[in-house]
């Protein structure tokens, strides 16, 4: 079983990202679940969402405490939330941001992508609210080998509520522009 935890802020689309990733794995004939943890917070507050992927039907329904991968939609969250809590020692970390000094997390396999710029140049959201949830999945495809970029693009086209073409472009561009540590 492969477990992914998403960190974002209310309104950034972490919940949708967790669903698109589940859909992408489903298209590759995997069993999946995806679920949010809703806090009492609203727009702007930290939110988490989860995706589980397995070859068998998934029985575990608790939250994810020791994820295989962590996807951070907003780098500024790393100042207020310990996003890597519980991440497996050989885990994957995908961060929206230019590559930088993340010394304390260097034991992980890390991918950086400037998903905000990619989203904005594809017309997804505006500078105060860029919609980065599809671009970040392109980066995840690059860092991991859990789900193919093709499946993520197909799932994005199916599930993006609007601007399907732009979202698919953002996935592809993020895949190409991701920097690995």
């Amino acid at each position: 079983m492969y477990e992914i935890r998403f960190h974002g802020r209310g309104g950034q689309g972490a919940v949708t990202a967790s669903k698109i990733l589940a859909m992408a794995a489903f298209l590759e004939n995997k069993w999946v679940t995806s679920f949010p943890f809703f806090g009492t917070e609203r727009r702007g507050a930290p939110v988490t969402a989860f995706t589980r992927i397995d070859d068998q039907k998934i029985e575990l329904r608790s939250q994810i405490y020791e994820p295989d991968a962590i996807i951070v939609l907003d780098r500024s969250l790393m100042k207020i939330v310990n996003v890597t809590e519980g991440l497996k020692s050989d885990g994957i970390l995908v961060v929206n941001g230019k590559s930088g000094n993340l010394a304390e997390t260097s034991r992980y396999r890390i991918g950086f992508v400037d998903a905000t710029s990619i989203a904005l140049r594809n017309g997804l959201g505006d500078p105060s609210h860029p919609i980065v949830n599809t671009a970040i999945l392109g980066a995840f495809a690059k860092v991991s080998n859990i789900v193919s970029i093709e499946s993520i693009k197909t799932a994005t086209a199916e599930m993006a509520p609007s601007r399907k073409k732009e979202n698919v472009n953002a996935v592809q561009e993020a895949y190409e522009e991701t920097e690995l540590n």
Binding site: K19, A22, M23, F26, L27, N29, K30, W31, V32, T33, S34, F35, P36, F37, F38, T40, D55, I58, E59, L60, R61, S62, Q63, Y65
Partner: protein, 391 residues
């Protein structure tokens, strides 16, 4: 490998319920939105608005009125549906009795959510365990598949002329209601053939006016009617079993019986659970079995009527049984524990413990179930609060 996506779609529990309602060709829907049930109502309102579902959607100002509306529409012969949660279902309480007493074969989906104070929107089953004595059949779903299937099955059972009692099917807040997972969409054709049209012998009819639920004195058949409801509920056990196997045949499904026995054949220690928390319990049972402890699980799919005889059969030979409650009762042990113990009294010699878990949405983890099994092996008697005082 089986192709998972060929016949399935990814949907949340709430979307699965709405799809079940559509497959049941429900004619009247009335519901008042409340978190975490809201997306059921939104999805249905949208289906009605875009013509996908040929239903009348009645907007109301409260849950009490929502249920009153669908009692009336159901009794006029139109298959009707409502959904609620938590404080909404408490507010409906009076009309829950009216619905069952009027023998209105409604289906209502309830997303189980904690009851305040303190204010809390997360998962807990106290809201519907409080409705145990209202004459409704109760189904607790473990998956989104069951959330869809139990709407269809619910109408089939409710509308059976020798049952004619309403059915509520439950989904755990967020754990099912907002969790996306693969669900097999039942074929419309099969669903239509399976359910047919609602056919009531007595219905509200302007051409043949009658009085519903009029006053009856102590010597009127008031008491006889209550007995008849209780008899119908008890006798439904046989019919439900038949209907479930009929459902499984028609839809190539695999719903359990009123209970599901998981790895019970040679078990020494077992837990009884209801709802989606059963999945993590099964995971734990497998894990402990791999370590050599013979564990098992009985999942209550139906809580009313209470499948006491099925439990009695399943627990024979156990060294310890733990009844897990995601609800709270005051001044006595949990309601499921009471029901289990009264079903076993004088017939089975199994020590039974009672565990209270997951109130107000507190996450229930594998280690919590491990603790319960550990506790079962070591001691017997008493009630335990799991994962309390730990954050």
């Amino acid at each position: 490998m089986e192709s998972i996506q060929a016949s399935r779609r990814i949907m949340t529990g709430n979307e699965a319920v709405a799809t079940g309602v559509k497959l049941s060709r429900v004619k009247v829907i009335s519901a008042y939105p409340i978190t975490p049930q809201t997306t059921i109502v939104e999805e249905l309102a949208e289906m009605v608005a875009n013509g996908e579902l040929d239903s009348k959607f009645i907007e109301v100002e409260s849950e009490h009125s929502a249920l009153a509306s669908v009692i009336a529409s159901e009794l006029s012969g139109a298959r009707s549906f409502t959904a609620s949660s938590s404080h909404g279902i408490l507010y409906m309480h009076e009309n829950l009795h009216w619905a069952s007493g009027m023998r209105a074969p409604l289906v209502m989906s309830v997303v189980n959510r904690a009851i305040g104070p303190p204010w809390n929107i997360w998962s807990e089953q106290t809201d519907t365990f409080n409705q145990r004595d209202t004459g409704w059949l109760q189904i607790y779903c473990e998956s989104n598949q069951e959330a869809m299937d139990s709407v269809l099955l619910g109408y089939k059972i409710a509308e059976n002329k020798s049952i004619l009692l309403p059915v509520m099917n439950m989904l755990d807040a967020f754990t099912l209601s907002h969790t996306s997972e693969p669900v097999e969409i039942r074929s419309e054709r099969t669903a239509y053939d399976y359910l047919g049209d609602l056919d009531l012998d007595f219905k509200l009819d302007f051409k043949n006016p009658g009085g519903y639920g009029s006053l009856l004195g102590p010597d009127g058949p008031f008491m006889e009617m209550k007995k008849d409801m209780r008899d119908s509920m008890y006798n439904s056990i046989k019919l439900i079993k038949r209907e479930i196997s009929n459902f499984n045949d028609q839809f190539e499904a695999n719903l359990p019986g009123l209970t599901e026995n998981f790895m019970m054949e040679d078990a020494d220690y077992a837990l009884i659970t209801t709802g989606a928390i059963s999945s993590t319990a099964k995971y734990t049972v497998r894990k402990l079995r791999a370590q050599g402890l013979k564990t098992g699980l009985i999942r209550l799919f139906f809580y009313r009527p209470f499948p006491g005889d099925d439990i009695l059969k399943a627990v024979r030979g156990l060294k310890g049984l733990g009844v897990v409650e995601r609800n709270v009762s005051y001044g006595q042990r949990g309601p499921t524990y009471e029901d289990v113990v009264s079903s076993l009294y004088g017939k089975a010699d199994v020590p039974v413990r009672n565990y209270v878990v997951g109130l107000g949405g507190r996450d229930i983890r594998v280690k919590d179930y491990e603790k319960m099994f550990e506790n079962l092996v070591e001691t017997d008697g008493g009630m335990e609060w799991i994962n309390v005082g730990v954050t």
